[in-house]
């Protein structure tokens, strides 16, 4: 079963993408630096997007698949359209991923601004330091009140 080149490639791709997913998940969870967390978060989102595109790919019988763009348009190209549909890949995941990338970008820009403000407020972006300082502030407030 693994001897089939298609299955072999599918296995390689799946395990590589899952390794990427795991590595970036580890980075998001275990790393203490907020900027490192941000880098890992962008990589995590990209990997998930690749998965969505991979599900929309197809192995067509008549040669290689083509992108979902109908190039031979004219006022009467019905047969060409049928041929195109038999070879094209799925457009829906691509449209969704297009949306997802842009939303990801917006969220990342906002997170970057928040990290910048964390640095301006606490003077550090290491999570451990930040939580220590927050504990200290809490004790201060309790003592004052």
């Amino acid at each position: 079963m693994v001897g089939d080149p298609k299955t072999l490639v599918a296995l390689i791709v799946l395990f590589s993408l899952y390794a990427n997913l795991g590595a970036s998940m580890y980075g998001v969870i275990a790393r203490k630096n907020l900027v490192k967390k941000l880098i890992c978060l962008t990589m995590l989102g990209d990997t998930v997007n690749v998965f969505a595109i991979l599900v929309g790919y197809r192995l067509s019988r008549g040669g290689t698949p083509v992108p979902p763009v109908f190039t031979e348009w004219s006022k009467a190209s019905e047969k060409l359209l049928a041929n195109f549909v038999s070879r094209s890949v799925d457009p829906l995941p691509q449209a969704l991923v297009l949306t997802a990338i842009v939303i990801n970008l917006a969220v990342t820009i906002f997170l970057a601004t928040l990290i910048l403000y964390t640095h301006r407020h606490f003077g550090t972006v290491e999570m451990d330091r930040v939580s220590e300082m927050k504990k200290g502030e809490l004790v201060d407030e309790v003592e004052v009140s």
């Binding site: 490192k36 990209d46 690749v50 083509v66 991923v97 970057a112 550090t124």
Partner: protein, 88 residues
Amino acid sequence: MDAATLCLAMIGFASLLSVFATIMAVLDRDLLRAALFSALQSTLYAFLFYVLMAPDIVLVYVAVAVGIYPLLIVLLIKKVGRFEEVGR
């Protein structure tokens, strides 16, 4: 070699190379270098999108992941410092 097999081979190749880039980006303590490894991974992913026949995604993904994420990260590390702290 027919073109369909070549496509499959390129998909496997690009995803395999991207694993090394991701792991280096996660493990490196120098954040600027991590950003560059992340850019390498994005370039490989752009290639992957291209071979998976998604030119629309390539156009917007290259702009976002090679162009704007590194700018954000470089802006950030210019202000918050370049190196991660060790051993805390």
